[in-house]
Assembly symmetry: C2
Homo-oligomer: 264 residues x 2
Amino acid sequence: MTDRAAPGAPIPPSPWHRLPDRPVKRRGEPISREAIVAAAIRLLDADGLAALSMRRLAEELGTGAASLYWHVGSKDALLDLVFDELIGEGVGEFGDGTEAPDPSRWREQLKEIAQAQRALSLRHRYLVRISVGRIPMGPNALRLSERVLAILLAGGLPPRVAVQGYLLLVAVVNGFTMDETGMGDAPPAPDAGTRPGDPASPGETGAMARDYLASLPADQFPVLVSLADEFALTDRNERFAILIDTFIDGLARRATKVRPDESA
Amino acid sequence: MTDRAAPGAPIPPSPWHRLPDRPVKRRGEPISREAIVAAAIRLLDADGLAALSMRRLAEELGTGAASLYWHVGSKDALLDLVFDELIGEGVGEFGDGTEAPDPSRWREQLKEIAQAQRALSLRHRYLVRISVGRIPMGPNALRLSERVLAILLAGGLPPRVAVQGYLLLVAVVNGFTMDETGMGDAPPAPDAGTRPGDPASPGETGAMARDYLASLPADQFPVLVSLADEFALTDRNERFAILIDTFIDGLARRATKVRPDESA
DNA sequence: ACCTGAACACCGTTCAAGT
DNA sequence: ACCTGAACACCGTTCAAGT
């Protein structure tokens, strides 16, 4: 319907996030687009999203904030680059990326990708937050989309359902990890969860919820009070597994090609 | 296991977000906690999340920014109040809130709540963004949780699954609406979607995605290129319906009490 | 082509001082 | 008990000027 590109053509720039169109030059790189992105990720990993400012980042690189603007245009554009860079890190997770979509185990392949995506978001706890409002159309995001959709098609989903299912899978995984990472900025301390009383440790959060819910007036909140204990036992790995199992099985039920191991 | 409250007791303050503990006084209210929250919501609805600053809000109320701090403690605490206030608006959506959980139509009741929650998030497009990292334990959030969990129990889910299912439902709905509202701050213009070329209108976004995907080199992205058209046809209402149908049906399959209309 | 310092127009929050 | 002005320590971004 629209323009087709010639084989082997470079990926065109997406219309959403435009960077200053600079010749890709490379020197002793005291400063370069790549170096800025790398430094930003370093800073984000170390100190969290709130710590990333153009001034602080420039300082890290031994320049003034104004210098960064020539390379990346704006902070938002820089976050676009960071976003796609991290997606690229995630794509290397499941197999080597060349493993072909296998119709007989497409659900497992999809689950692996979902797990890898969650792991990525847990490694970089600001990732889901910077992804908000960012359409994933960078080169690495495209490679990921290509792969996921290929798997869904191999699974026998009609094209329409495959696209809807892909968009939903992304939303579902992001919704879960957003809930999970919250605003927790810096990576958890090495001993998180072992130190009792640490409010950031997973077990403590559940215990706090339990205690608070149990303390509610039982005549107004009979169910919450009775279920309070369950909130302490909540296992995020199990919950994530339940989620994607449920979701992908539901998707499978929408495949037109009925495979031996499933029925309508 | 922990403290139980006497019947009819007031809801204790949750340990997560503490407000300055002020006597609830009421006067000609040139300024009060309620007035500040109401003004904040007005400002947010009109101009979006980025427009809310303590200075601007104070100006709206005819004071200086410093005055607000005595009433709400901090901007973050103010957003806690805004959050729970909006949840309260949403709770009034499905029935009158007194309609009892009905075991024979628990799935429908759950779907109504999910729909109401999405509608709320679309009415206040910043809501999902301010909910990030905010544990929903305000009075209105508690009432909502109580109701949803009662429905899940009425549906025959074991307590453990009910709690997990509830937490997942919230994450799933938020993930979807987060994707949907993105960073789109102000409410769409009254004629959004009718004005061709408006990049914020729903149809246009799909068309942009289609055109861009179709323009990719087909040898590197055969699947994306072939599915490009589907991205333009994507219907968010349909997609949301697919999502919660899939999810709730999956939940139902985990109920131990097998009801007549379902099987393991 | 690349970098800089200085400025502009903002932030959230604190605090001594007022009434 | 409530409000205030002024200050502190920040932001993202622009822009004329340098090399």
